[in-house]
């Protein structure tokens, strides 16, 4: 039983070079494998009969992962604690998404994960595996701006520009789900993004215009 613990998974975690005093990670990981079968007779009936899922452990230490960014697989080796935002910015040189609050409040780090807008500062990179990650870098086709980006330019929807990439991604995610938005819908739908320069009016107009443009089938 001991041998079949989580450590036997492909990403065999080696003990760290410098174990911290008074605490053994190994102990924890090994402990996980012990006692399977011992715990919970008559407990969690349904789960117990189901075939045990392959134990899935990542770390300690850097682990190789594959992210699908704008449709392309990208390999990167990161520690499990690294957020999707930091993986993109610090390891992959994709600096479009901005790190502003780093606690899920401002929206500057917004990306579209499996079709849903999320704050990339609040998603772990390892948790983003297997899902398509759309970022600002993938939005344009060649030299042609995406209709959302073009509408931002037309409506002067940025000042310092720090919030812009997040807003554009939030707007794209919003229009994908609400092709006919009113100004009020836009205000509500983009409530998760903040702009310290106060360009909200321009942004809302841009989003309504971009939605019309995209329905015209020009891009999207």
């Amino acid at each position: 039983m001991k041998g079949r613990c989580l450590v036997s998974s492909r990403k065999d975690p080696e003990p760290p070079a410098k174990p911290k005093a008074g605490f053994s990670r190994r102990g924890f990981i090994r402990g996980v494998g012990l006692g399977s079968g011992a715990v919970g007779t008559g407990l969690l009936e349904r789960e117990a009969v189901a075939a045990p899922a392959p134990a899935n452990v990542v770390g300690p230490g850097p682990v190789p992962i594959t992210l699908t960014i704008n449709g392309k697989p990208v390999n990167v080796t990161v520690e499990p604690r690294v957020t999707l935002l930091d993986a993109m910015r610090n390891y992959l040189d994709l600096t479009g998404a901005k790190r502003v609050c780093d606690r899920g409040t401002c929206g500057a780090c917004t990306v579209i994960l499996a079709g849903k807008t999320v704050y990339s500062c609040s998603v772990l990179a390892i948790d983003a595996q297997g899902k398509n990650i759309e970022t600002i870098e993938g939005l344009a086709t060649g030299n042609n701006l995406h209709p959302v980006s073009a509408a931002f330019v037309n409506h002067d929807a940025q000042q310092c520009g720090y919030c812009t990439a997040g807003f554009v991604m939030a707007a794209k995610g919003f229009i994908d789900k609400h092709p006919n938005p009113t100004m009020e819908d836009v205000k509500h739908g983009l409530g998760g993004n903040l702009c310290r320069c106060g360009t909200y009016m321009g942004i809302r107009q841009a989003v309504v215009e971009a939605a019309k443009e995209m329905k015209g089938g020009k891009n999207g």
């Binding site: 990670r25 924890f28 715990v39 957020t83 772990l124 919003f174 998760g192």
Partner: protein
């Protein structure tokens, strides 16, 4: 965000998750959507156990009850036809107010409850719905009322247990419902929130009533004495005034960065009145 986190586990079953949780002692934490954990940034966490792959994302009918798995997201709840149809959609409405789209795409029902915030927006409607929660630990599963789940400020029953699902029992026939939230901005945390359920008899008297409030006591609460006062009475202006006075006596709001205790207490009256008026309007009783 998780500076000290070293390993990350993604158990495929509840059983495995429980074993990991037990072995991780105080250094392992369950993570679902992570939207509360990110902000908490607890530096004692070494192991994260991601339970979003443990088969707990579902909305089911079980007999007359509606059962919602712990990792069901707010976005799923707000868009689910079943949840929108349940009790005037109060749970869907509450879920739709939990932060921004980006938050609601990640945030889970279980996380909202287990985090133990008195302002958790889904807790209030669930209290009005007499919801129960199913917990699992090494000894087995148990079902407890949501009221028993909260034991104090930010204290909830889980500990080494996992919140598995929320059970909403059969609702009173002809019941009418309302959820009200007051926040500084649309996606901000509640200053006060309130939920009400009302069943009237043929003479317009309250046969059954539920009044729940959030962000005005150490835990989300039911205003039981106000409910008692309402039952058996005709739902008219003077009853509402009395009930709202009783609510204001029953809550224990505090002053914090968002609002003063005094303001919160006053808003309890306002929100409960709005909620009961909406319920009464729904039953065709004119006030």
């Amino acid at each position: 965000m998780f500076d000290r986190v070293e390993a990350f586990y993604r158990p495929g079953t509840v059983r495995e998750a429980l074993r990991l949780l037990q072995n991780g002692k105080n250094r392992a934490r369950v993570v679902a959507g992570g939207t509360d954990l990110v902000v908490e940034a607890d530096r004692s966490i070494r192991f994260l156990i991601d339970i979003t792959h443990a088969g707990l994302s579902y909305i089911r009918r079980r007999g007359k009850a509606c059962v919602i798995g712990a990792t069901t997201t707010m976005a799923t709840l707000e868009n689910s036809p079943a949840i929108r149809a349940l009790a005037g959609g109060i749970l869907a409405r509450a879920a739709a107010t939990c932060g921004s789209v980006q938050i609601r795409n990640m945030a889970t029902l279980g996380g909202n409850l287990a985090n133990g915030s008195p302002a958790a927006d889904t807790a209030t409607p669930l209290l009005a719905l007499d919801a129960e929660v199913v917990l699992a630990d090494a000894r087995g599963r148990r079902k407890i009322p949501l009221t028993a789940f909260y034991s104090g400020l930010r204290k909830t029953a889980p500990g080494k247990a996992l919140l598995i699902e929320v059970v909403i029992p059969a609702l009173p026939r002809g019941g009418r419902w309302s959820f009200q939230k007051l926040g500084r901005t649309e996606s901000d945390i509640s200053l006060v929130n309130a939920a009400a359920g009302l069943q009237l008899d043929s003479k317009g008297r309250a046969k059954w009533a539920r009044i729940a409030l959030g962000a005005v006591a150490p835990t989300p609460i039911r205003a039981v004495n106000a409910e008692k006062l309402l039952v058996g009475r005709k739902v008219d202006e003077s009853t509402l005034a009395e009930v709202c006075d009783q609510v204001a006596r029953e809550v224990q709001p505090i002053t914090d960065v968002r609002a003063s205790a005094e303001y919160r207490r006053e808003m309890c009256r306002v929100l409960v009145r709005r909620a009961l008026e909406e319920c009464a309007a729904g039953t065709g009783c004119s006030l």
